[in-house]
Symmetry: C2
DNA sequence: GTCTATACCGCGATAGAC
DNA sequence: GTCTATCGCGGTATAGAC
């Protein structure tokens, strides 16, 4: 529900209805909306990391693993579960809720930078390529691709952006 | 206010307070929240186009104009006024509100593609570079850069992503 | 054209019975 | 642990006076 409607747009009552749980149950197990959201965000972050690592850990060159990650099947029009939360004022205002969002993208950028560094070591990428910068660019293309796709009501801009990035990466690869 | 709190997070009452206008005035000039938001979104879209065109129309090579646009001063942590709306369920669900968002990004991608096509014509970029793809990638890096920056609570990821993209572009340019 | 008053609803949380 | 009842608040809009 966070994914579809965001934090502000999701009410405890709606959650209870979807979970077929009563008010009392919810407030017995969670102190309130924020704590419940925290649990949900941490879970989504863990799932995102697991899904990404599946691609990263597979064999192949750095470019192969990165393009595999970029081009894996995605629910493009629904956007990114974690990324969409950055537009939620209440999430951004609460350090406890922002933390798991921050950590997830921090992990992703670090992991991508490692793979690019490996690609440099193996001679796949030129020595001048900056791993941190390139990692941020890759993560940004995905997040921005979701934004463009949702704006257009079509997955096309996402696919174009990803293809454009892959072409640029192949352009600098030896 | 749309920029800071989004559509769902902005109430008519708050708007009236900020504008020092009464309820009656607002409902006399606008049929309701949606129509008011439509006007605001269209205005933001026009401003975004004007600001971008300022960079695009300046002199210089295609790469210079694109990097000028990418690196211009931005309120990174506040995000993109138009892009953030793609996370708003009520905006996405209403075709009338989504239309100006769609048109703004449509215009931006088209304009960037034109500049890249000019760069190809002048021999700055290789014939194999796809203008539409590259344009989508550039727009996505900006939108995604905002997302990463807001997640991190720092402009750094945005700057890294932009620099990474500029490096890749320069890598394929002759 | 602008004002105040009012209406209706749903949010987020609490209270206290069972 | 779960239930129902209730609370106070603010969102969104309308009514009708001025």
């Amino acid at each position: 529900m966070l994914w579809e409607r965001g934090y502000v747009g999701t009410s405890p009552k709606a959650i209870q209805l979807a979970a077929e749980a009563g008010q009392g149950s919810m407030y017995h197990h969670f102190s309130g909306k924020a704590e419940l959201a925290k649990a949900a965000i941490e879970r989504s972050g863990a799932e995102l990391r697991a899904a990404a690592e599946e691609q990263f850990a597979g064999g192949g060159t750095a470019t192969e693993r990165i393009t595999g990650y970029l081009q894996r099947d995605r629910d493009v029009l629904k956007g990114c579960r974690i990324g969409r939360l950055t537009a939620d004022p209440d999430v951004m205002a609460d350090p406890v809720l922002r933390a798991p969002v921050d950590e997830t993208f921090g992990w992703l950028r670090t992991r991508l930078a490692e793979i690019i560094a490996e690609g440099k070591k193996s001679g796949e990428y030129p020595a001048g390529l900056d791993p941190e910068q390139t990692a941020a660019t890759i993560a940004a293309v995905l997040q921005g691709g979701y934004v463009l796709a949702r704006a257009a009501g079509s997955a096309e801009p996402f696919d174009l952006a990803v293809q454009g990035l892959v072409s640029l990466l192949k352009g600098v690869a030896s």
